[in-house]
Symmetry: C2
Subunit: 388 residues, 2 copies
Amino acid sequence: MNNFNFYSPTFFVFGKERENEAGKYVKRFGGTRVLIHYGGGSVCKSGLLDRVKESLTAEGIYFSELGGVKPNPRSGLVYKGIEICKKENIDFILAVGGGSTIDSSKAIALGALYEGDFWDFYEGKRIDKALPVATILTISAAGSEGSTGSVITHENGMLKRAANGDALRPVFSILNPELTVTLPNYQTACGATDMMAHVMERYFTNTKDIEITDRLCEGILLTIIKEAPKALANPTDYESRANLMWAGMVAHNDICGVGRDQDWSSHQLEHELSALYDVAHGAGLAVMFPAWMKYVMYHDVMRFAQFAVRVWGCEMDYQQPENTARQGIAKLEQFLISIGMPVRFAELNAKAEDIPALVKTLGLGNQTLGSFVKLTEKDVTAIYKLAI
Amino acid sequence: MNNFNFYSPTFFVFGKERENEAGKYVKRFGGTRVLIHYGGGSVCKSGLLDRVKESLTAEGIYFSELGGVKPNPRSGLVYKGIEICKKENIDFILAVGGGSTIDSSKAIALGALYEGDFWDFYEGKRIDKALPVATILTISAAGSEGSTGSVITHENGMLKRAANGDALRPVFSILNPELTVTLPNYQTACGATDMMAHVMERYFTNTKDIEITDRLCEGILLTIIKEAPKALANPTDYESRANLMWAGMVAHNDICGVGRDQDWSSHQLEHELSALYDVAHGAGLAVMFPAWMKYVMYHDVMRFAQFAVRVWGCEMDYQQPENTARQGIAKLEQFLISIGMPVRFAELNAKAEDIPALVKTLGLGNQTLGSFVKLTEKDVTAIYKLAI
């Protein structure tokens, strides 16, 4: 096990009707002039936004608002949000939505306290401070409600990049599973896939003797595998929504990833896909993760066999463990298909002839991607081809 | 799943040699006048205490010290610590030791900011504030390094009682598994048993549809079952110590217990035992937990069957699930014996004729204990008898 620090100070407020406490918590965490940031559509139509505003008004808290966040959130709206913050002396950002809204809010929070271009942080500048961000989550997926990360696509060149820092951990996050029961099945499935990817990108590691985090990872995956199909079959089932919602947080606040090298190659391979084709992040991951696995499994067959046996209930083939390893990947792929996810390029309208462009935008050059297997441009090309 | 709040803001500093960073973190978290609180013996002899003092001195931090904490920590030393804090204007408490030292530190932290008797908080007074407490952990067991709780025995009547409050969460905790490699096997096993109890007291619940926390609980138990025997067979094995140390934290910061009714009966049944006979907490739990299980299993046979199958690898008896349930309890008992734990009264030098006194000190009267099954004095008596 590697040395590590773990710090997850977000106050989680979980359960039915908890969004009505938004004002109380904004006050407790020091917000006086709030920017409410959201996408649109269901957040407005469902009355959620009105309830949140009422809750702030009841506490006498000033607020401004900015809607319009889209999936794969863009830099344009971030610049707009930063401008509002500076003009209106905003001291607190309340994200009402899913991962895109939260990530956009985190970017605004960074830019609001920075003289330069917020994009600097997405090109590697160290994060020291940001406005406090809180969230009211409406989809179980990104884990951004408890994570240090934010992913934004810059419209100049359609670069999709991540920033990470403790200052980006939300101060509080309200998780009401009721808010997710109206999600279309495709979005629920995309969310489940994203959550699984967050776990698997921690699971496949070269670090040895990490039983505790292995077991936590497996527990989260087993939960998603059981609960996602229930939520899809019966979208208004509160209990499966609740299990998925907490699983999504635990999958990504790093409690299951500490003390080990992590490998976020699949996420990066997907980022290029969704930047180019604007596909849903979860759908892109469903295509890229099995492809990555098929390519790298020979590097540590026993780890893939453990994954197959413990997570997918495969029988161990003691004579030929690679059969078990392969079976685990096949089971993952079958599961993704069963919940309505694409698993091949064509289903995303992605094109084989774009692979060189995808690889180029990734910008590896002579460097490598990932840690489980260090991937060269040649490897990455082969993985994209496996996804055709 | 029940509505819940989850808040675990402790900054965890995990790994080899991390105790040398104590001064840096005390400074970061605002300590200027520190009380170092510890037991004695190994903490002094090993040089750990000296290294910690050097680390504080290097940062120019004033410190006072108070040693002498014993297992099942007593009120007498707490009063002494509170006096030091008030006299010396202490603003930060640094616990160097195991659960007893940390719990004693939390009690001092409470009393230092309170005009009345600190014991009020152990009789139910609501906790609003305490001095910041940080920990350098030397045994994987109590989970107090990440929890809201503290358990103290009052010398007036030998009452062992718990206090709980967010203000008791350590601000930072340093977890270096190297510090645990010199532990006698008996203490390692007691610690493992305590950790398992923390999980099981969350696991056996009447709350339905809690797959995510069930799976996390099971993952932690599976880890302890694998790693504790490795640590006992090879005490200097860093990796098993590291897995146990993180498991002990995750077992008790409540990440695996949210959203469900919990049942801490076994802990309370044990507290009476260890208060009367001064036995190690883990040893008392090894005796009381299987007894409690045997008594309550008929209340929810399928939950005990799930425990047996998922945690102990038992074959499910679909025709007679109670066979599986019983087998799980037997496997737990066998495991406890295998790691050198007592499982009967006689092994603790506890006496059957003291049972009425144990029940009386518990002080139930017409009330009940626990939530999974609400235990009357008659039930509690029967459970103590099962442990003979």
